[in-house]
Assembly symmetry: D2
Homo-oligomer: 139 residues x 4
């Protein structure tokens, strides 16, 4: 399936609808099979000890699936997260950006399911995984 | 099981170990059966449209279970979140605080499981539910 | 909200649509707030050591939410499970029936969310918890 | 990491410890990176309409992760499932076997996390996904 929006246009669109997250996230890669998003780790994302917080990883997964959904289905700003499951497997490396690798497993008319693996930059084992379901409200 | 820390002491302890979250959360109620935590909703917790963001609800659930774990088991700052599942069921009311009701379903030596219902203040139907598992590292 | 079907009629209906599960499950209690379902534990539900298997607990949770959904919304045999999360917290007692306590947290037009606590009969601490989401296909 | 058991020995071992599941599952492929398990779909796995039931898919995911855990860590029959999350994305094809593709994301001393994609044989889009966590009891 061809993408409805390419990386540059999607990046502009995300900043437009979510201005407050523009300085947190950046799309690194986007093609039909996957999207890679970067969390630009800053002081506000950290827990004592310097690791990236759970809510920041949740936000990264959530934004990744939402962005990929927009890229595949076209802008539907009303899609809402209905469920999420996450496993936190390793301590994120202190002070490193976190990269997400996102795939969509289903893009139905009503439900979209995405899965995300997250890595501290430069590491080969994931710090966390997430599955997120979005609901597309009837028009 | 008697609580290892009462509400006032726990509140002081949480601010001590997580200074950056002190202005976001406040323990409203604590007894052996449940803990109620308040998210002091502010601009930084909102999404376009005025609803409380998913990461803010995740953070509320995570802090609620962690605080109750400390209250029941005594301070073990090393407990780490290992998994989480959330369902987002209704749009949080704009500009309202969110209250969590937390129970611990298991407080084992290795794993602690808590569940949380979250309500926009004054509403009787939950906006979200969460289950969180914490792992207690071997000493 | 009044129930669309009472306990006796619902029991008959479930056996009608799922004849193969009639000997596994029995509705113990049904009112507007909760449904209690019994797993009639038999050899085929057990794992080595005599504990009830994970798939049997999954089935109990799934049937509980589906039955309560039918009771509240009326027969819609097309509702399908779209997601599930479970925590297994204690070893079920050998040879005991398992009782589920089910609540519906959301009964929307598109999605229904239920949560279930499961207990070995006679025990006061849950062996497992589950959250299940059902999707109601557009008519 | 080299496997502790190869496919043939693992198949024999699984039948030995779980005789009742021997006719339901068969290991198709096993290497360091992934395990593929086949659900030998039979009447007892079906729901009305001929689709494979949710509990049967749960069992497939659970057995896949457990078998891969044994293959990587060596026989530890005491590993227990502590949490599971599943998304059911498409109706399984009637009368087809289901194939699982399993990866282990973490094999720690205390927790093992696996993820599983499940496909009706011959289809290229997954019918379901699952993440399962196993706890390894202290010796």
């Amino acid at each position: 399936m061809a993408l409805a929006i390419e990386k540059e246009a999607l990046s502009v669109y995300l900043v437009d609808i979510f201005p407050q997250i523009a300085e947190d996230f950046r799309i690194e890669e986007l093609n039909q099979d996957r999207l890679v998003m970067r969390l630009l780790t800053a002081e506000r994302h950290l827990r004592p000890g310097g690791t990236v917080s759970g809510p920041s990883l949740f936000a990264l997964a959530d934004v990744s699936v939402y962005a990929f959904l927009l890229a595949q289905m076209g802008p539907r700003a009303l899609a809402v997260t209905t469920s999420a499951s996450l496993d936190f497997m390793r301590k994120p490396a202190a002070g490193k950006d976190v990269l997400s690798e996102c795939r969509l497993l289903k893009t139905g008319r009503v439900l979209v399911v995405g899965e995300v693996l997250m890595f501290s930059e430069g590491m080969d084992k994931p710090v966390a995984r997430a599955s997120m379901t979005y609901s597309i409200p009837p028009r």
